[in-house]
C-alpha cells in the first residue's frame, strides 16, 4: 500500500472516526458522505463521530490460510463485531484462543500492527479487538 493511501485513513484506523447521519442518527464506519437510508436529505448533514471501540462479536472464523501480512499470526481469528453504536466492523480478535470465543462476546478495540510495507518500509497500525476485561 502506498504511503499516502495508509496515512489518509490514520484517524479511522487508530481512532475509529466515523460519521453520524444528522437526519436519522445512524452511525457509520468508515465515514460516509451520504446516509444510505436518508439519501440526499443527509447531504451536508453527516457529522463526525468517534466509535467507542466497544462491541459484541457477531460471528467469527479461524483463518488457516492467511493474508501475506498475517502469516506469522496464523492461525488467527477474524470476526465481525457489532459496535455499541450499531455499526459493524471487521477485525482480528487478539488476546483470546479460538475455543474461548463465543457469539455475543464483549470486545474492545486495541491498536496493533496490521502489517508493513517491507522490512525497511512503513509500518501499518490499526484496530483489532480483544475481549473486555
Amino acid at each position: 500500500m502506498s504511503i499516502p493511501r495508509f496515512w489518509r485513513e490514520i484517524r479511522q484506523r487508530y481512532k475509529g472516526i466515523g460519521t453520524e447521519c444528522g437526519v436519522c442518527n445512524r452511525v457509520y464506519f468508515p465515514p460516509r458522505e451520504v446516509c444510505p437510508d436518508c439519501g440526499r436529505d443527509s447531504l451536508g448533514d453527516m457529522k463526525e463521530r468517534e466509535i467507542s471501540g466497544k462491541g459484541k462479536v457477531l460471528t467469527f472464523t479461524e483463518v488457516h490460510e492467511p493474508m501475506p501480512d498475517f502469516e506469522i499470526l496464523s492461525p488467527y481469528i477474524m470476526a465481525i463485531v457489532e459496535m455499541d453504536e450499531g455499526v459493524r466492523m471487521t477485525g482480528q480478535l487478539v488476546g483470546v484462543e479460538f475455543d474461548e470465543v463465543k457469539n455475543g462476546m464483549e470486545v474492545e478495540a486495541v491498536l496493533r500492527k496490521l502489517g508493513e510495507e517491507s522490512p525497511s518500509g512503513i509500518i501499518y497500525y490499526g484496530y483489532k479487538f480483544r475481549p473486555c476485561r
Binding site: Y14, K15, I72, L73, V94, L111, R112, K113, Y125, K128
Partner: protein, 352 residues
C-alpha cells in the same frame, strides 16, 4: 524547584500476555535454565505478540491512563516516549501515540532513549513543562520490547511492557515532590546503530554501573530531602533482574516489604524503560492517601533519576474507573515454547 505543583493525574500499564520460562530457554542452549532463572530471580518473562511493539504497548497504556484521569486527547500538551526499542530508528513513536489517543496536532512530542531510564527522563521533561506552566498536562511513557541475543544471558530476562503517566497540576492522585539525577559516562551496556541485539559488559554492569548509580542517586536524594528509608511506605528501584534491586535496597536500608509491590521482574522479566514506570504503577494501585513513595530508575550509559512521590486523597477515587490494575494485567498469561517465541520475535529466517 518549580513554579507550580506537579504530579500524576492518571497512569496505567500494559504487559503482553505471552510468557516464556527460563527452563524453556535454557533447554535450547544446553544451560540449566531453572538455575539461570533462580540466579537472575526471574521465573518468567513477557513476550510481545508479533503485532505488538512499543507503539501499541504505549498506546494501550496511554488510553487507559486517559480513562483513569478522565481526560481526552485535547487535554494533552506533550508526549514523550522513552524506549530502547522504538520500532523506527527515525520517525517518532510519540506522534503515533498522539494520533491514537487523539492528542494531535496541538501538542509537542519527542522520543527518548537512555537505555532503561528513558521513561523517567520523560517524567522529568513533563514535570518541567507542567511546572513552568508551558503545558497543562503531559504524557510520559516508558515502554520496551527489548531483545536479548539468542543464547545470551539477556535472553532470560529481556521482556516487553510499558506504563504511561499523565503529569499535570490539577486533580492529582499523587504529587511529585522532588526529583534529582546523577549521570556519568559508563559503558556497561549498548547497542550500535543497525545492530539487532544489544551488547554488555558482563559483570561490569553490576558494581560500577547499576549499584553505583542507584545507590548514589538514592543516597543523594535522601540527603537532599533529609529523609530516611524508613520514611517511605514504598520504594521502586530499576529491576534488570530480581537480585540487583533486592541487594541495592538492602544496602540502602530498605526492607523487602517496601520494595515487594513494585518488584515485577520476577514474573514479567526486565521491561527496560517500562520497568520502573510499571513498578510505580503497581505501587499506585495499592497506595493509601499520604503514602510516601521513593523511585529510582537506572539507565545504562549511565544514569539514575530519583523521585519522591506522595499519594493524595485522589488515589482511591481513580480505582473506580474500570481500568485494570497491573496485577490484573499481568494475571492474563499464555506460555510459549521456545519455537513459538523464536517465531514471534523474528528469530526464524523466513523465505521472501
Amino acid at each position: 524547584m518549580k513554579e507550580k505543583k506537579v504530579g500524576i493525574r492518571g497512569y496505567a500499564g500494559y504487559v503482553p500476555r505471552y510468557r516464556i520460562k527460563p527452563e524453556e530457554i535454557g533447554a535450547v542452549w544446553g544451560k540449566d535454565g531453572k538455575m539461570m532463572g533462580a540466579a537472575l530471580g526471574v521465573k518468567s518473562k513477557s513476550v510481545p505478540s508479533p503485532d505488538e511493539d512499543v507503539v501499541t504497548i504505549s498506546t494501550e497504556a496511554a488510553r487507559w491512563a486517559m480513562i483513569r484521569a478522565g481526560l481526552t486527547g485535547d487535554n494533552i500538551g506533550a508526549i514523550y516516549v522513552g524506549s530502547e526499542s522504538h520500532p523506527y530508528a527515525v520517525k517518532p513513536t510519540s506522534t503515533m501515540v498522539g494520533a491514537a489517543i487523539g492528542a494531535t496536532p496541538d501538542m509537542t512530542a519527542a522520543d527518548y532513549e537512555f537505555a532503561c531510564k528513558a521513561g523517567t527522563a520523560a517524567f522529568q521533561t513533563c514535570m518541567g513543562l507542567v511546572g513552568s506552566g508551558m503545558i497543562e498536562n503531559g504524557l510520559a511513557i516508558g515502554s520496551d520490547t527489548s531483545q536479548g541475543a539468542p543464547g545470551d544471558a539477556l535472553e532470560y530476562s529481556a521482556s516487553a511492557g510499558g506504563a504511561a503517566f499523565i503529569i499535570g497540576s490539577d486533580d492529582l492522585l499523587a504529587e511529585i515532590l522532588y526529583t534529582t539525577s546523577i549521570t556519568t559516562d559508563t559503558p556497561d551496556f549498548w547497542r550500535r546503530e543497525g545492530q539487532a541485539y544489544p551488547s554488555h559488559g558482563g559483570r561490569f554492569t553490576g558494581q560500577p554501573a547499576y549499584f553505583k548509580h542507584i545507590m548514589g542517586c538514592t543516597g543523594k536524594m535522601l540527603d537532599e530531602l533529609d529523609m530516611e528509608p524508613s520514611d517511605f511506605q514504598h520504594a521502586v528501584f530499576h529491576q534488570p533482574n530480581g537480585k540487583f534491586p533486592m541487594k541495592a535496597a538492602k544496602k540502602l536500608g530498605f526492607t523487602k516489604e517496601q520494595i515487594s509491590t513494585g518488584l515485577l521482574v520476577t514474573r514479567i522479566g526486565n521491561t527496560y524503560s517500562g520497568a520502573v514506570p510499571l513498578g510505580l504503577a503497581a505501587v499506585l494501585d495499592v497506595a493509601e492517601p499520604g503514602d510516601d513513595i521513593l523511585v529510582t530508575s537506572y539507565g545504562s550509559g549511565a544514569g539514575s533519576d530519583g523521585f519522591y512521590i506522595k499519594a493524595t486523597d485522589g488515589i482511591t477515587q481513580v480505582r473506580e474507573s474500570g481500568v485494570p490494575t497491573i496485577e490484573e494485567v499481568i494475571k492474563d498469561v499464555k506460555y510459549l515454547s521456545y519455537a513459538q517465541y523464536a517465531k514471534f520475535r523474528g528469530k526464524i529466517k523466513r523465505g521472501g
